[in-house]
Every structure is written in C-alpha cells, then in structure tokens.
Symmetry: C2
C-alpha cells in the first residue's frame, strides 16, 4: 500500500461513465473506482481522460460528494480542479478540500493561448490565496498537447519559491522525456514530486527518482502497471515495461478515451460504458470489435472486473 | 439603427471590467454597454475579449440579469454561450433565451484538440436538442488561433442542413480572408450571416455580401467602425478602412485585451478599468503611457465616454 500522507505510485484519471442520456452514472462510477482502489491505483478523478472539461463544476462536485459518501478513501483521491475560469477552479478546489481531498491536480487556465509565465504565476497565486488553506497541495498538470498552455521549468521554479509546500509536484504529460528528466533533476530533490504522464515513462521516471505515474491506461491495466511500480528495481523491470508498452500500443490504435471506455464495456459486459460526451465520439461497433480482438490476441484481461461489475 | 430582427452591423465583444478584487464591476459594465449602444454597436457580451472563459457560468448569468434589468435592449445582445462543458453551454444558452436574448455566439467545446467534425456536430446537435427552443439562433464562433478547434466548411454545411434557421451565421476570427470568402460564397446566399471577426475585413466582407463585423476594437473605436459599416458603398470607403486599420495597429502593438481596457481607463479617467483576470496580465504603467501617447499621436478619441463615465 502506498503512503497515505503523500501521493506515490500509480494513479488513474478515472473515466467517467455516462448514461445513454449523457449524465454521469454514479453507481457505475463508484464500482469502477472501487475496482481501481483494490488494484492499489489512486483516483486522479477529473483528468483529461475523465472528460472533466466536458463536465460542469456542479457535476464534478456532486461526483466528489458521491465518492466520499461511498467510503472511497479520500486520501486516495487526487481530483483535477483546474478549470478555464479562475472562479470555477477556486470553487472546485475548495470543495475538494472541504471533503478532505487536499491533493489536487491543477491544469493552468487553458482558453487563452500564448499567455506569459507571469500570467500563469498570477493565476496559481490567486487560486492559492482565494482557496486559503494550509492543507492545499497542488500538483501542476503539464499537458501542452491538449491544453496548449505549457507549464515551463521557469514557472515551476518561481512557484516553488513563492509557495513551498503548497506546490507539491507535477504530472508531466508533455510526452517529452527530456522535459520530465529536467523536472526530475531540478525539482524532485526539493521534494517536488514528479509523476510521469503515462506508464510509457514509468520505469525511466522511477530510475531517475520520480514517484510514479498518472496514466489513462491505469483504467484498464492497473494491476500490471502497479506491478512495475512495485518492482522497478527487479531484474525483469525492462520486460515488464515492454509488456505495458505493448498493451498501451493496442489502445493507442484508437481514440484513447473512447477505447478505454469501450474496453471496460467489453470486459464488464456493460456496453453502455462506451458512451462519451461530445465532442468525443464513441467507437463504432467495428472499432470496438477490432479493439476487443486485438486485446484478446495479446491475452489481455481485467481480473476482478467481472466480479465487481 | 440596425434591424431588431436579425443582427447586422457592428458588434463588440464587450470587455468585462473588474474591481481590484477581480470581481465583475456591474456598474461600470452597464455604463460601458450604454455607451456602445449609443454608438449603434451591438453587445457581443462574453466573447474572447470579454475574458468570458475566465468567468464562471453563474457570473455570466448574473451579468446578463444585470444588463436586462438595466434596460439594455435585449435585441442588441449576442451573448457568447459556448463553454468547454456541454452542460455549461446548455445552462448559459437557456438562461440567455429566458431573458429574450435569442441570438447567441457559440464557441465549440475547446478543451480537446483534434476532435472530429462528427464530434463537433454531435456537440451542437446535443446543445440544440437540450436547449429545446425554436427561438434559438446560433452564430458559430470560428476562432482557431485561440480555441484551436476550427469549425470547418464541411461542418457548417452539415449543421445548416440539419438545423436550418437555428444555425444563423458565423463570426470568422480565423484571420484568413480566403476562409471568410468561402463562407460568404457558399453559405451567405442561404441566409447564413457572415460577420468578419474584426474590422480589418469589414469592407471586404460587406463588398462580398456579408452583414458586418464583431470586433474587439469596437470597444474603443465604435463610431468610426459604424461609419464604415454605414458607408461601405461610398467613395471614401477605402480611406475609412485605412483609418480603422491605422487605429487598430496601435492597439495591436500591445496585448489586445489589456490594451483595450487600459485605453478605456485612460479616456474615462478610471484607471481601475485596466484590471484583468489571470492568466492575462494588465499593461505596465510604461506600456499604458506608450499606448496613450501613440493614441494621442494619431488623434484618437472616444467621444461621449467622458460624459457617460
């Protein structure tokens, strides 16, 4: 079991199940979260793969309430609370803290492009001031391929100096190992925890002193990813990494979020799992069958999912 | 006066004044809106230049309530209601319609990048279905430099076929005249109204059969832009366009939104107008002085602003 005090290990941006009417399906959500927790995967709810920015703040707050009232351990949550609007980010972050979820993953405001480090610094500073809690721990969410608003090394340095303790780490979803490496070298020694943005860089991140990964495929392949996290120093670590890469490669042949949901639908025999909110598009039946077939070919399974489902 | 039935002419994405505590300043907002209306400029509130995506949906709904209760003519409003989350867009659009503001400018969902036309079609279709009002008129907001989610000609064609009447027009802020031209040629004859995304293309748009422009600098230079709109067929139209371009060029030397607000602050003698929400950064005093000086050099003025302020 990972530490309850400081997030480490494998987290998953939990996919958000919808009903056919596109509303969050709380019952199915809780079941999926329980299954992930049983695999020792932490819940980075409201990440990119959660379709978080297709949900209203009120919908996210209600989902958080449901998680906590369903006795999901609050110390295993790392909710994404960064929204486009300053006031939304403050409201959602305060709500998370009010429930005891003190570790949050925070996108920068992502509508305006070409904004300056000064503007992003002011954004995080305003949020920290307005949230006004010593318990707050912010993990910066660097995902320039989607947000198009990068979090530079210079910005991290400035934030760490201004808000030591509060600025707790990063999820680096740049896909650029040299950037992750620079974060690990410059900031991890200061207690700024670097999570790889996917399991692709899990082994490399652990070898360079990082603390784990937060990964989309944690939704479907949690046990194997956790095994590499636990055994990264063992002789077969590279082979484990290669096996994880092979599984990820199958999902990567399809649009990732619809593919994750489709796979859960196939393995739980609950096809409604495939529903996504626009602007995403669910897999076609042909795509779903191709995915299922490719997963069978590599002997993929989701142990325990059937029992919980 | 432009038609009350269908938007035409010059609209401005109304800049949103903030108090020093970064809250919307309703009193100053209403004054600015009244000044624009007196210049015959329509109010495209909650546009990019309004910092709309730095505001929560509830803040925007309250501002709309204030506008309507302040007797701002509702037929001169074209609120921006497109948010990242489907449910937010539906809520804000329904609120606008409940107040009688039936013409809305709608961004596509802008968090996910590389989404398909199918996904964007489903997004607009879901919004139209959920809003569920025959009164709804949607102006598509194409601003790929910021949203990074373009609205293609093929998507417009499909939306027009599926929702004739409801899909009413476009603001083209691509900055690409060939794209505006294609929209004018293909869709304007079907009653799909094309607004240029700035006054830079106002004359060209009018000559090609379009209906006007929705422009940031409408906040500061409304009278001159309206004069070109009214006189686009007169002999001095090109000279008027050149004069507008020269004024815009001064603002374009600075970050646009902070510069617009700083200029209003200078000409109204209310420096608090300069406040922006992060991630934007207000002009430095030196930048503000340079802007003021450059505006003086071209004989720029904001007639009537002092009286209203």
């Amino acid at each position: 079991m990972t530490s309850v005090n400081r997030p480490r290990g494998v987290y998953s941006p939990v996919v958000t199940p919808f009903t056919s009417d596109l509303l969050p399906d709380h019952e199915r959500y809780i079941r999926h979260c329980r299954w992930l927790i049983e695999q020792d995967v932490g819940l980075a709810v409201f990440g990119t793969n959660s379709e978080a920015n297709s949900l209203a703040v009120s919908e996210k707050m209600t989902l958080l309430d449901t998680l906590v009232s369903s006795e999901i351990p609050v110390d295993r949550l790392m909710p994404g609370t960064g929204c486009s609007a300053l006031t939304d980010t403050v409201e959602l972050t305060r709500h998370a803290l009010s429930l005891g979820a003190n570790h949050v993953l925070m996108l920068p405001p992502f509508f305006y492009k070409g904004v300056t480090d000064e503007g992003l610094f002011r954004s995080y500073a305003q949020i920290i001031e307005r949230v006004g809690s010593d318990a707050l721990r912010i993990y910066l969410y660097h995902i320039p391929p989607v947000s198009q608003v990068p979090i530079s090394l210079a910005l991290i340095e400035r934030l760490l100096a201004a808000f030591p303790g509060v600025i707790a780490g990063v999820k680096d979803s740049s896909g650029d190992w040299s950037n992750t490496q620079a974060m690990l070298e410059r900031f991890q020694p200061q207690g700024f925890d670097v999570f790889a943005g996917s399991e692709t860089f899990l082994l490399a991140t652990m070898r360079a002193g990082g603390v784990g990964c937060i990964t989309a495929t944690g939704n479907v392949n949690p046990a194997a990813i956790v095994q590499l996290y636990r055994n990264w120093q063992s002789a077969d670590a590279d082979a484990r990494q290669a096996a994880l890469d092979a599984t990820r490669a199958v999902f990567a042949r399809f649009p990732m979020i619809p593919a994750l949901k489709a796979a859960i639908g196939v393995y739980s025999n609950e096809p409604e799992w495939g529903v996504v909110r626009p602007p995403l598009v669910d897999l076609t039946p042909a795509q779903r069958d191709a995915l299922a077939s490719a997963l069978r070919d590599i002997g993929f399974s989701m142990p325990g999912l059937e029992v919980i489902a």
